[in-house]
Symmetry: C2
Subunit: 153 residues, 2 copies
DNA sequence: TCACATTTAATTGTTCGCAATTGAATGTGC
DNA sequence: GCACATTCAATTGCGAACAATTAAATGTGA
């Protein structure tokens, strides 16, 4: 007779699933970021794009997509919103007319200084030592990369 | 003179951010789940709702939301889709007419058996021992709960 | 050169996720 | 019993996220 909490059901229990842990942690991060990013006028995915651009400017959409694991269906409208906010400029590459190059505007560059406060606040909110966070991050990245390897068959 | 990779910029670098690790790992999980859940006719958030219901049936929307950290704006349309797929039934509670109770249909119950294959496939894809995954899961859940505690001031 | 595949971004349609609002039901203090 | 706040789901609007398709530019082989 199957009981309410049979051992066979353990793998299906919500609290046993690492994917739900990751899923719900991502949402929790988003909620902590929200008020911080509101001050910058950015959403979290837009913030990620800006992080990429602050590292290297004038890159094709495809490069941004590879770093963030996002495709053009997500990035095209997002980048248009960043352009509407005067943070980036989108121009067709002259060497390869298929590519659209994304470059920061002066305002986009300037926003970087304001953004420096964000990681500090997040560190405080996580209530955790830097070394612990780095260790966790490395584990999660390793897991992510193994998962992504499976997707590519 | 700020160089290309100055130490002051380290906290803003994408690869140093645990939140991006979590964010991208969540997407990677989603992509691994996709083909498995397609066979069940479920999306990942729908699968999470079914996990909750397989543990305890006939619960108000609010209870599901608390377990999954989702609100009615997300759950109402999702539950209507599950109802359209004949997996759940939505009925107003007679004790409290504000509440909508979600109950599994026979088909919803039956789907549980097919779902048992899912966690196994995920375990294989993560290419990791169960004990390692459990340890990681506990760390991530602890981090998530600290973040959620900050949100509630 | 010319047919053909590949690359790249854009578009369309569906589903999440959440903030803000609405409206009905319930509970509370007086 | 009645004004008032609270609770709950539903709704609206916006921004991701992604699959599938489209269209243009480029590369490749015969």
């Amino acid at each position: 007779m199957p009981r309410k909490h049979s051992a066979a059901d353990a793998p299906l229990r919500l609290d046993n699933q690492i994917c739900f842990a990751v899923y719900s942690a991502a949402h929790a991060f988003n909620r902590v970021y929200k008020p911080l990013l509101d001050r910058l006028g950015l959403t979290y995915p837009q913030y990620l794009v800006m992080l990429v651009l602050w590292e290297r400017d004038d890159v094709p959409v495809r490069d941004i997509g590879e770093k963030l694991f996002l495709d053009s269906g997500t990035l095209t409208p997002l980048l248009k919103r960043l352009e509407a906010a005067h943070l980036v400029k989108r121009t067709r590459s002259r060497e390869d007319e298929r590519q659209v190059l994304i470059a920061l505007t002066p305002q986009g560059h300037a926003l970087k200084d304001k953004a420096r406060a964000v990681p500090q606040s997040i560190l405080a909110a996580s209530d955790c030592s830097v070394s612990e966070l780095v260790a966790m991050k490395d584990e999660i990245v390793a897991l992510r990369d193994r998962l992504n390897a499976v997707i590519g068959e």
